[in-house]
Amino acid sequence: MLKTCGIPTEEELASRIPPKDRRKKGPVVMIECFQKIPCNPCFTACKRGAIQKFEDINDLPSIDFDKCNGCGLCISKCPGLAIFVIDETYSEDEATVSLPFEFLPLPREGEEVDLLDRSGKKVGRGRVLKVRNGKYEDRTPVITVTVPKGLSMVVRNIRVGGDLR
């Protein structure tokens, strides 16, 4: 449960998952923001108007999934690092997840990495497709990684170079 351990339950997650029909059409955003805090950079970052204007800065983001094209420009702008882009159309048996990753070493494109769930547990291996780390990302690199198709809603972190703990 979020408020006791920082990990959302299935029920908590349900309201933030993009509709199934939309997920079949290509990359789409999933904003794991569950708490009304005074914050709105996701709205400011979205060039397509998919993230609706905040009536009150404490509101949770509300998304027009049909306007979202999964560009991911919002990922590095979220101060809570709570935005992910999911593409379930990547291939027959793989999806991709784009996630914010502020750790060194950064993975190289093509490198295999551990895939971790929301509790940091390893759930598989994936391949890094893209590392976006320009001026725009401002030291919050965005990593796109392949994941087994069934894990698109599970993988939310990666580990480079194995378990060091």
């Binding site: 794991e32 805090i37 005074p38 101060p79 809570g80 750790f103 940091g120």
Partner: protein
């Protein structure tokens, strides 16, 4: 004796904004800060800030600090005294005593004072809490983010407020293993997004747990083990639930208390408001205390976020300048805008504690109501 129109004590987010706002209105300002550079705690904040664009949302604290200090340093109306500590305020003649650059004693007679001294960390009583290896979270941040030194290898973080969560994340970024984050409260006090960030690194967050004791390594005398135990719903420890963690660092992050010594000296009416971190000065909506000409802003006025500290600073600076007669016609509009932004930031569920605290504190009406 040195003269200035407005003395700003403390060059953190609130003080810098106060100085910039007062100078923008036309006043001459002197910022006095005991550190070697401006920015206060912003220089340690490597995370991107919340808020809206106007509060520099999505910009890292360290970059906000740099931005504001650059603006201050190039502003001809603002003078900066670094490595200088205000050590006394003499209410009879309104003089500030300053230990200037650690060497000489300087007296400053300002027309107005903005106190933006911030807050200091609270600590916890437990067995052996003075062992080497036990730090406040601020010290860990200073070591790591200012000096590039890691505090140890394995850490127990005590406190799941925003600071505890953020420092845990920074420790993990520095390849220091955080074994657990514990908090005596039944719920995480910090923002859940910060909690999720550390949870997906594999760091367990354990609510309703507190620290029982710390034990040293017999040979070195430094911290080797921490014992934690669970609390029941009446916050009483449950015998038999003890867990031993092998850690060489315990980081205490259990809240802040306002640094109010100068306000007491000045004779400001003070009130104990737990929701704001302890004793704070009674003040009006313009951030002016019960001693005319003395303003507060930031954590010293009530422990809160840096984003609201910046707006409080702006409000205090605008009002201090206005009280000296500086107004280019924009004062009323700027004042109202700042008040409105503060209200917006505090209007949600996470602002409830602050709203409760302020309700006990803010006297109605202001001297310069528009």
């Amino acid at each position: 004796m040195k003269d200035t129109e407005i003395a700003v004590i403390g060059g953190g987010p609130a003080g810098l904004m106060a100085a910039l706002a007062a100078a923008e209105m036309g006043a001459r300002v002197t910022i006095i800060d005991r550190n070697s550079r401006l920015g206060g705690q912003l220089v340690k904040q490597t995370h991107k800030f919340f808020g809206s664009e106007k509060e520099y949302a999505s910009v890292r604290g360290i970059d906000i600090g740099r931005l504001l200090s650059d603006e201050v340093l190039k502003n001809p109306r603002i003078e900066t005294m670094l490595d200088s500590t205000v050590i006394g305020y003499y209410p009879d003649d309104g003089v500030l005593g300053v230990e200037f650059e650690g060497k000489t004693f300087v007296k400053i007679k300002p027309k107005k004072v903005v106190v933006a001294t911030g807050a200091s960390e609270k600590f916890l009583p437990f067995e052996n809490n003075d062992l080497p290896g036990i730090y406040g979270a601020g010290a860990v941040q200073t070591l790591m983010n200012e000096h590039g030194v890691v505090p140890g290898e394995n850490v127990l973080m005590v406190g799941a407020g925003n600071i505890g969560l953020i420092v845990s994340y920074q420790l993990m970024q520095a390849k220091v293993n955080v074994k657990a984050i514990i908090d005596a409260a039944p719920c995480i006090g910090g923002y859940w997004v910060h909690a999720s960030k550390v949870a997906r690194l594999g760091v367990p967050i354990m609510t309703s747990y507190t620290i029982k004791a710390a034990y040293p390594n017999e040979a070195t005398g430094t911290l080797e083990r921490a014992v934690i135990w669970q609390l029941d719903d009446r916050w009483q420890p449950i015998p038999g639930t003890e867990k031993v963690l092998k850690v060489d660092v315990i980081c205490i992050s259990v809240g802040l208390s306002p640094l109010t010594e100068i306000l007491w000296q000045a004779g400001c009416e003070m009130k104990y408001v737990p929701q704001l971190g302890g004793h704070v000065a009674v003040r009006n909506e313009n951030m002016e205390t019960t001693v005319p000409g003395i303003y507060v802003a930031g954590d010293v006025a009530g422990v809160e976020e840096a984003s609201s500290a910046m707006i409080e600073g702006r409000l205090a600076g605008l009002n201090a300048a206005k009280s000296l007669g500086y107004d280019d016609g924009t004062y009323s509009e700027k004042r109202l805008e700042a008040i409105k932004r503060l209200q917006n930031l505090r209007s949600g569920p996470v602002g409830e504690k602050i709203r409760q605290g302020l309700a006990q504190l803010v006297s109605s009406g202001g001297d310069y109501n528009a």
